[in-house]
Structures are given as structure tokens and as C-alpha cells.
């Protein structure tokens, strides 16, 4: 080795090259970029309204959460009460009626289309409803769940396993509940996203929580590609809903 190329120089080159090599690895486009609408739950105005290409994804209903027995009865009672009051025209106030977005994991099946952006070292997902954004980092480590700052989208890191994008998430706020299921600060969300043909994407979601769940809670969500769609702005600027002080339902301010 010539004297001019010292081990220190080699080390510097390696240090400079390593992030670039890593970024190249994580920035490789895997075809997720662009707009997606949720599938198969569709309704006029929620998505493209286009006839979808034929597909057989076998999307099953989300199973009941495997809550610990001491929580399961309360959860079932709460769900039944919400349904009963809603049928009476008195739906209980919730995060939505306070203009608070889904957070994780519900924002991954938000009511409006979402956009996936693949950039070096990062995938960003924007759900149109409530302008919700989550950032999935590849060159990062997940904070310990017990130490993660509570957020709506939590903290997410991703990696590729072949053609599957694997994302782990911790640090979701306690009151950001999916289907009214309580969770602790130790909850972890694992997602496995992959394309099915050119037009569909599936997301196998698994939630574990040592304090509330006896087993992993797993289901699959799906998305239909909508290449020409541009995500719109959504600012909750004119919320006329409030919690009725007596009955607690979502009441409309009329005056």
C-alpha cells in the first residue's frame, strides 16, 4: 500500500462510502410510490370510483382482539354500548368528532386515499384525512418502547425482507385506540407490506402488547393503486361537533 493511502484515509473513505451504500440499499424503489385507496371498503367519493382489476385477496374481517380476560368483557360492553347509542342517534363523542386523526394503526386504513413516498433512507405515508403523516426510517433504531415519546403515528423503522417492507412501530399515545381496544405504552405494531401484482398492496398488521393482549392480534389490510390521484389538503378548520354536556353524544352546533 503506498504511503499516501494510510489506514486513516482508508477508514475515512469507508466512513464516507458506507452511508452512501446504505442509502442506496434503502432508497431502491420497490414500486410503492404513489397514491392508494383502501380496499375493499369503498363508497362514492371516498376513492377512485373506478372498476377495479380482478383480484382475490381473501381479506378477512378483523378478528376480536385477544384481550386479557379482565379487559375483554369491558371492551365488549363498550362496543355494544357504542352501537346501541349510535342506533338511537346518540353516538358517543370520540377522537374523530373532536377533529383528532386516527393515529396508528388506524391511519393505515384511513377513510381517504393515502400517498406513499419512497426517498433515500425513508418512506413517508400521508393519509389525506386530517393530513396525517408518518415517517418510516431505515437508517434508524427504534427507541425502547417504554422510553418512546408518545405520538399519534408513533416511531417507525423499516427494512426490506426481499420484496416485503417490514415496519415496526412503538410509542403510540394511550388514547389513540383502534376499535376502542386499550393498549399500554409497550404496544408494538409490526407491518408487512407487499405488492400483489401492479395494482394492489397488502399490509399484514400484527399488534403485541404484554399488558393487554394474551397473543398477537393480526389482520390484513389492502389497498388499490390510484396512480393519477393527487392527495388533497384536509385541515379541520370548521368543526361544529361538540360533546353534549348531558348525554355525551356528538352534537352539532347549529347556531
Amino acid at each position: 500500500m503506498p504511503k499516501s493511502v494510510t489506514p486513516r484515509v482508508v477508514a475515512m473513505i469507508a466512513l464516507l462510502a458506507a452511508p452512501a451504500m446504505f442509502a442506496q440499499e434503502t432508497s431502491q424503489l420497490r414500486g410503492l410510490n404513489g397514491s392508494w385507496e383502501r380496499w375493499p371498503s369503498r363508497s362514492a367519493g371516498l376513492g377512485s370510483d373506478a372498476a377495479p382489476p380482478p383480484v382475490d385477496l381473501n381479506i378477512a374481517p378483523i378478528p376480536e382482539p385477544p384481550l386479557r380476560p379482565e379487559y375483554l368483557d369491558d371492551w365488549r360492553a363498550e362496543r355494544a354500548e357504542i352501537q346501541r347509542l349510535t342506533e338511537q342517534g346518540l353516538p358517543p363523542a370520540n377522537n374523530y368528532s373532536a377533529c383528532i386523526g386516527d393515529g396508528m394503526p388506524a391511519m393505515m386504513q384511513g377513510m381517504f386515499p393515502m400517498e406513499v413516498l419512497e426517498t433515500p433512507g425513508q418512506i413517508t405515508i400521508i393519509q389525506e384525512a386530517y393530513n396525517q403523516v408518518r415517517r418510516i426510517y431505515f437508517d434508524d433504531e427504534l427507541p425502547p418502547a417504554e422510553d418512546a415519546e408518545p405520538r399519534f403515528a408513533g416511531h417507525s423503522v423499516g427494512r426490506w425482507e426481499g420484496d416485503t417492507l417490514v415496519v415496526d412501530t412503538v410509542g403510540v399515545k394511550d388514547y389513540v385506540e383502534f376499535q376502542n381496544v386499550p393498549h399500554s405504552h409497550l404496544m408494538r405494531i409490526n407491518e408487512r407490506l407487499r405488492l400483489v401484482g401492479d395494482d394492489y398492496m397488502v399490509n399484514e398488521v400484527t399488534i403485541v402488547d404484554p399488558e393487554f393482549l394474551t397473543a398477537p392480534w393480526t389482520w390484513t389490510w389492502a389497498y388499490l393503486r390510484w396512480p393519477e390521484y393527487k392527495i388533497q389538503e384536509y385541515i379541520c378548520e370548521n368543526n361544529r361537533y361538540f360533546r353534549d354536556p348531558e348525554l355525551g353524544y356528538q352534537r352539532l352546533r347549529v347556531d
Binding site: 371498503s41 369503498r42 363508497s43 362514492a44 367519493g45 371516498l46 376513492g47 370510483d49 349510535t86 342506533e87 338511537q88 342517534g89 346518540l90 353516538p91 370520540n94 374523530y96 368528532s97 377533529c99 377513510m111 381517504f112 389525506e128 384525512a129 388533497q232 389538503e233 384536509y234 385541515i235 379541520c236 378548520e237 370548521n238 368543526n239 361544529r240 361537533y241 353524544y249 356528538q250 352534537r251 352539532l252 347549529v254
Partner: protein
């Protein structure tokens, strides 16, 4: 047909097929009485192109000729852009007809089902809000058109 300002509106109470679509909105629509839809005719006093909902405020007369200012809830900007509305297609002063499902608590507000603008153009309110069960004359629509609902 609605050239006269503050034209008397017809309160046409019609029992309609209950609609049970997927919950997919900012909030549950159950405070609105979907089974009882009415036609409002009046003058727009405000058109709010906003989220989480778009609102039309409408001066409409009741059966006694008394004017009430109705609050009409529409879907939201992103849904209605997708089904062909435009942010400036309604203006204060416009005379319009609106089929709405009124609030159950009797306040003068309703969920829009279908609107007819001064130029005769008609628009639904997107899938989640559900279809009109009556026409603009208040006649029931048997096997009602589901307003684009799939």
C-alpha cells in the same frame, strides 16, 4: 321554480328505506333522521367550503311562512371534489332546493342528500352520507337511487 325569494318550502315528510352504509366519515350520521327526509327551498346565506364538513346555510320558510336559517351539512371538501362539486359552485343569494335528513332533536339542521342549483344542476352528497329517498317534489323514490353508493 324557485325564483321567488323565500319561497315557501314544503315540509314533505316521507318514510324512506333506511340506509345502512359503511361508517366512513368524520362522525356517525345517526343524529340525523335518515328515514324522514324533507325538501327545503330557500336562499343561500353562506357556503362554507371547509373540513371536516362543508356547510350550506339556507333561509327557508316553514309551513307558516316563518323564515328559519337552516344549517345543511355536506360531506367534506375532498369527497365532494371527487364527486364533481366545485368550491365556488354555490354562492350567497342562490335559490336552491335541498333534500335533507333533519336532526332528530328538532333543531333546524340536516344532512344533505341531494341539492339542485339555480341552473338546474343536481349533485349528491357522496356515498357515506347516503342517497335521497325522495325527489325534489317530495315523492318517494321506490328502490331509491343510492346516490352513487356501491
Amino acid at each position: 321554480m324557485h325564483s321567488r325569494k323565500f319561497r315557501l318550502c314544503s315540509y314533505l315528510l316521507v318514510t324512506a328505506l333506511a340506509w345502512a352504509g359503511p361508517g366512513a366519515s368524520h362522525h356517525s350520521f345517526s343524529p340525523f333522521e335518515d328515514e324522514v327526509q324533507i325538501v327545503l327551498s330557500g336562499t343561500v346565506t353562506s357556503f362554507q367550503w371547509t373540513n371536516p364538513h362543508i356547510y350550506i346555510e339556507l333561509d327557508a320558510a316553514d309551513e307558516n311562512g316563518d323564515i328559519k336559517n337552516w344549517l345543511i351539512e355536506c360531506a367534506n371538501t375532498t369527497i365532494l371534489n371527487r364527486v364533481g362539486w366545485k368550491w365556488n359552485m354555490i354562492k350567497p343569494g342562490d335559490e336552491i332546493l335541498a333534500i335533507v335528513a333533519p336532526l332528530r332533536n328538532g333543531e333546524p339542521a340536516g344532512l344533505l342528500k341531494r341539492v339542485r342549483l339555480p341552473d338546474g344542476a343536481e349533485h349528491g352528497n357522496g356515498g357515506p352520507a347516503g342517497p335521497a329517498s325522495i325527489d325534489f317534489d317530495g315523492n318517494p323514490l321506490p328502490g331509491a337511487d343510492r346516490g352513487g353508493e356501491r
